[in-house]
Amino acid sequence: MKKQITILGIESSCDETAAAVLQSDKAGFKILSSVVSSQVQVHAKYGGVVPEVAARLHIEKILPMIQLAIKQAKKKMTEIDYIAVTAGPGLMSSLMIGTETAKTLALALNKPLIRINHIEGHLLSITEKLKFPAVGLVVSGGHTQIILVKDYLKYKLIGETRDDAAGEAFDKVAKILGLGYPGGPAISVAAAKVESVNLIPGIEIKLPRPMLDKEGFEMSFSGLKTSVLYKWNELVKILSPENLDKARNLMAYEFQKAVVEVLVAKTAAAALKFKAKTIVLGGGVSANKFLRSEMLRVINEKLPDVNVLMPEMKMAGDNAAMIAQGAYFHVLKKDFIEPTKLKPDPGWELVH
């Protein structure tokens, strides 16, 4: 391999249009730039609640995002050695914009093309190298999966949510509690206000931990959501406005604790079963402070020899830097695709 390679990463699987430039050297790699459309756009349709999935919006944004990423990386298009793009999972109409653009660039520049799975991107959104076997927890609004990583490019899904994704549960519970958008951070902030669970005399909030005692790595969060809904509706009937405010924070606290407990327990169990040397977190919910601290605390206690890796906050949500990072490992294995053969695959499951 050349001493230094440059990879352009493109991500447009759902609402975000993102581009990034990675540069490698003998020691490893560095992200030179990473731009994500929601963070640069001037207009927000409904404050970010409605996903910007219109193909025409992706079309409008993709070239400016690529150009911006290349400019910020202080590179020229001709200095790009490899093009990497998310080919799935996601929405066909969104994915297509990314794949067609990547295909065209690869052909025009005569550079190798790499197709990346969006979940793989999240798994590899950390900068450190993994020690194998590794167990990854990818947790976001759209996905909640535990994946066994035997080596780069060797993945096996070992557990996922049977209903709501964890990030989705955060979002919906935030709505139930009237906590605003985006739900995840709102729950986190409310939960952090709780100093003691004995906030309100006579009120104790107990929430279930779905699937916790069940063997295996399947998870479930919709029952927890329904539990919050019913308990909250009861509290609304009996509490004074002042106590209801306290109860809101307490409910957020208990909910967050329940979700995190399940995520950490299942991940730890998987790490134990598969003798993992590394645990890696990825996806939007990996930015949750409590998940991060609990994962570290529990693994330090139960599996002290296992290293826990998590992405920087800005790498947790959907972005193209993780796509470029994933691509780096595909380049090492010379895993390329003929541009004319690249097709978006909305249901692409990450498998061995």
């Binding site: 996903p51 999935v53 219109a54 193909a55 025409r56 929405l91 709501d164 994704a165 919709s222």
Partner: protein, 142 residues
Amino acid sequence: MKLITKKESETIKLGEKFGKTLKGGEVVLLVGDLGAGKTTFVKGVAKSLGVTRVVNSPTFVLMKIYEIKNKEIKNLVHIDTYRGLDIGDLKNIGAVEYFKRKDCVSFVEWGESLEEYLKKEQINFKKIVIKNISENEREFIL
């Protein structure tokens, strides 16, 4: 027709029964609050159609398509408009194309906002309303 389910497994069974009545081309709007059992119902439908993949909530991914082998129905399309998708958005993501296909069946969670459009376009649809009666009980109006 009104039916009561007392737990999740009964909702799944109801979905299975409903799934067996599908011939292809159906568009079903699932109307009900958070926790009503919309996704759970679709799990049952998927099971009856022979889908082996896990059917989980499409709230954030917006649309999921499950391939069905060896039947007149080739795809189960599962859509969720909870995040505020309107008919324009559904057209943008190609969902409306699926509504018109006889070899697909589509289930739209929170789909009440589509009724007017579907009526105008003369696309036949069914509406299933689910009411939360208590923490575990649901009333299905099919």
